[in-house]
């Protein structure tokens, strides 16, 4: 049987997340795979159009139900499990959306999940990081089990557009559970580039010392057209909001350029930036571990260097 892969789309109700195009990229590295994207939404019309253009997608399935106005794992998992039978693989992104949802689907299907797929070796063989990226495992799924997987989005480039998949409505076959209710989300919307997809990221650590000082980095980021990130220490201290955290328990990112400013380089932080093309470190401690991974290291006081950079970039 040829691989038949179902991808659970991530979206905000209007726009498909780039993570979905990265899942498609991962799925198309499985030899001879047919790829279907399923969209659970209150209104899936526009989203389906967007998914249909992703190169490599054969079919787009839509499931429309008011409960899908917000991504509740319990509701989506029940739906996906009900239509998963024909598929050999069910993939989702390893964003908080996918991390929350996919194991629930796997358990309903009584099957195994491979988390954080970074490379596909065959339809049953995958590579994934463990120990905060300090080791890489190659795992084999046994006995023809259905494979549920989360795709490590930093490892894949989104597929191009230009496709023309055909769109089908799937009946919402299951009654969604009533035990879980959406209350609110802090929509911290900004005009700045999105941390997870930005080409440049300016990130600050504990050294910034206050939320006020952290504004320095916003200035530099704006000059560079960069997104802003933070270490856990900076988030814990309240200098930056939690959605800016980069690292093992924050976001795993792969920008072209990453500036680590006043960040020591703990392994949990480095996990989040291993795939950045170029890392710049600015730190006053010449022995800070961040310098071991930095392509360009500058030893000095950030409170002098950042304003200088600003000025030179003019």
């Amino acid at each position: 049987m040829n691989p038949n892969i179902l991808i659970v789309a991530e979206h905000d109700g209007r726009t498909l997340s780039v993570a979905t195009a990265k899942c498609v990229a991962c799925a198309t590295t499985v030899t001879d795979a047919a790829v279907t994207v399923v969209i659970c939404a209150a209104d899936a019309t526009d989203l389906a159009q967007q998914a249909a253009t992703l190169a490599g997608v054969g079919t787009v399935l839509t499931v429309e139900h008011p409960v899908h106005a917000h991504p509740l794992a319990a509701a989506i998992a029940a739906q996906i499990a009900a239509l998963a039978a024909p598929y050999t693989h069910v993939f989702g992104p390893s964003s908080t959306f996918g991390k929350d949802l996919m194991p629930r689907i796997a358990a309903l299907l009584k099957t195994v999940q491979v988390s954080d797929i970074m490379a596909v070796e065959s339809a049953t063989r995958f590579r994934r990081p463990i120990y905060a990226g300090n080791a890489v495992l190659t795992v084999e799924v046994l006995d023809g089990a259905q494979v549920v997987g989360t795709v490590r989005t930093a490892s894949f480039q989104p597929v191009a557009g230009g496709g023309s998949a055909h769109i089908e409505a799937a009946a919402p076959v299951v009654e969604p559970p009533h035990h879980t209710r959406f209350v609110s989300v802090s929509a911290a919307r900004s005009d700045r580039p999105d941390l997870q997809s930005a080409a440049r990221v300016v990130s600050g650590g504990r050294a910034l010392g206050s939320a006020e000082n952290f504004q320095l980095l916003y200035g530099l980021a704006d000059t560079l057209g960069a997104a802003v990130g933070a270490s856990r220490a900076a988030v814990d201290a309240g200098y930056a909001p939690n959605e800016l955290q980069v690292g093992q328990t924050g976001k795993i990112i792969a920008p072209e350029l990453y500036l680590a400013i006043g960040i020591s380089g703990a392994i949990q932080h480095l996990t989040g930036i291993k795939d950045a093309r170029t890392i710049v470190a600015i730190n006053k401690d010449p022995d800070a571990p961040i310098f071991e991974v930095a392509d360009f290291g500058l030893v000095g006081d950030l409170f002098e260097i950042v304003p200088q950079l600003q000025k030179l970039l003019g």
Binding site: T96, P103, V114, I130, Y131, A135, Q248
Partner: protein
């Protein structure tokens, strides 16, 4: 009896620098410091605070793993857990199997809340809590940074990519915790002495009627690709010149 069940995993301490064995058969763990998974400590701390507020009567910790997990269970008892369950097995279980064991224990213990870590920092799977919630057919709230209990319900604030999301779930439910939920207490010496007398029950998979099936085989371990060593620049101007030269600005 209002009971909270907390899942605990023994893992290599987060400060240890992990190294892959030269033959690719695993990571070096000989003589390495082992600890309670940091997320699980936070889950336990939260359970203890809920009990201290009077919203629970008993906190039970459970681990599934080999005999040498006992020191970590004792640590949890010293932190304040009332009793410990040790489901002893020498074969490491996959998350679905661990969730199955927890599901069986729920039948016996009837907790109104199950708290787990959002991920174990060894295998970084992040699956067990969600799988347990599915097998139990109950709500899940993952990556919690705040938990508020009211009659029969919990309001949970979750750390998601977009920011903070709040869900309301009916109890019983499974909640997996994130780092900012709380800061776990330190264990004091007298508590360690007291913990020695607290009940720690050892169970076997057979006694629970569970025969786990492996669905995944590990073929090899490798060290991650290393980044090549970079260069030092002397000042801001030199840095910008270097970035321009590389076509990054």
């Amino acid at each position: 009896m209002k009971r909270i069940l907390v899942g605990i995993k023994r893992v290599v301490d987060y400060n240890v620098r992990i190294r892959v064995k030269p033959d690719g058969s695993g990571v070096l763990t000989d003589g390495v410091k082992m600890s309670v998974n940091p997320f699980d400590e936070i889950a336990l701390e939260e359970a203890l605070r809920i009990k201290e507020r009077g919203a629970a009567d008993e906190v039970v910790v459970v681990t599934v793993g080999p005999a040498d997990c006992q020191p970590q269970l004792r640590t949890c008892l010293a932190m304040g857990a009332d009793r410990a369950l040790h489901v002893q097995t020498d074969t490491p279980l996959e998350p679905l199997a661990t969730a199955g064991v927890l599901r069986t224990l729920i039948e016996r213990e009837q907790p109104f809340l199950v708290l787990l870590g959002k991920q174990a920092i060894d295998d970084d799977n992040g699956q067990t809590g969600q799988m347990l919630a599915a097998l139990w057919d109950r709500p899940q709230a993952t990556f919690a940074s705040k938990i508020e209990l009211t009659e029969g319900k919990a309001q949970v604030t979750r750390e998601v990519d977009a920011g903070l999301e709040t869900l309301e779930v009916d109890l019983p439910a499974v909640v997996t915790v994130d780092l900012r939920l709380n800061e776990p207490r330190y264990v004091k010496l007298p508590d360690i002495m007291k913990a020695k007398k607290k009940p720690l029950d050892t169970l076997t998979l057979e006694s629970l009627g569970i025969t786990p099936r492996a669905q995944l085989k590990t073929l090899r371990y490798e060290p991650p690709a290393q980044r090549s060593k970079g260069v030092r620049v002397n000042d801001a101007a030199e840095l910008l010149a270097a970035l321009k030269h590389k076509g990054l600005l």
